[in-house]
Symmetry: C2
Subunit: 82 residues, 2 copies
């Protein structure tokens, strides 16, 4: 099951981490370290975004690690060309 905090991500990043907003990236299958580092950057303000800054601010290291592990584990592949 998704981590509790993943409910904050769904509105833009989709139920399974495939983006539902034109300016939000897919999270499914993203490298775990990358996701962790971006959440930390939003939390510290090194990276800025009006929504992500607010969402990341209260996250603990454990919650960030859990979200990064969760989304990176949602496996993706290239769609087979018809």
């Amino acid at each position: 099951a998704p981590p509790e905090k993943a409910r904050l991500c769904v509105a833009c990043h989709g139920v399974e981490g495939l983006s539902v907003q034109p300016d939000a990236p897919n999270l499914a299958g993203q490298p775990e370290i990358y996701v962790r580092d971006q959440l930390r950057a939003y939390r510290s303000g090194k990276r800025t975004h009006e929504v992500m800054g607010v969402i990341a601010k209260p996250l603990t290291d454990a919650e960030i690690a859990e979200l990064a592990a969760y989304y990176s584990a949602i496996a993706i592949e290239l769609k087979k060309k018809p």
Copy 2:
């Protein structure tokens, strides 16, 4: 065929936009606007990264648009669970 500038992306983001570096995101299937905005942010310095800043600095708007269109068009899907 990939845009000429895509050769700069392959080392970290992979031949078809699936990351080959733990701290580099997948680009395949990312929303076009998101990719465009991130390249612009790296170009302007609004977003910082030691490699991406150098790569994005000389890119023109047209090259950025071409890269964003190229990578967003590489379709991805969730891997079917066995």
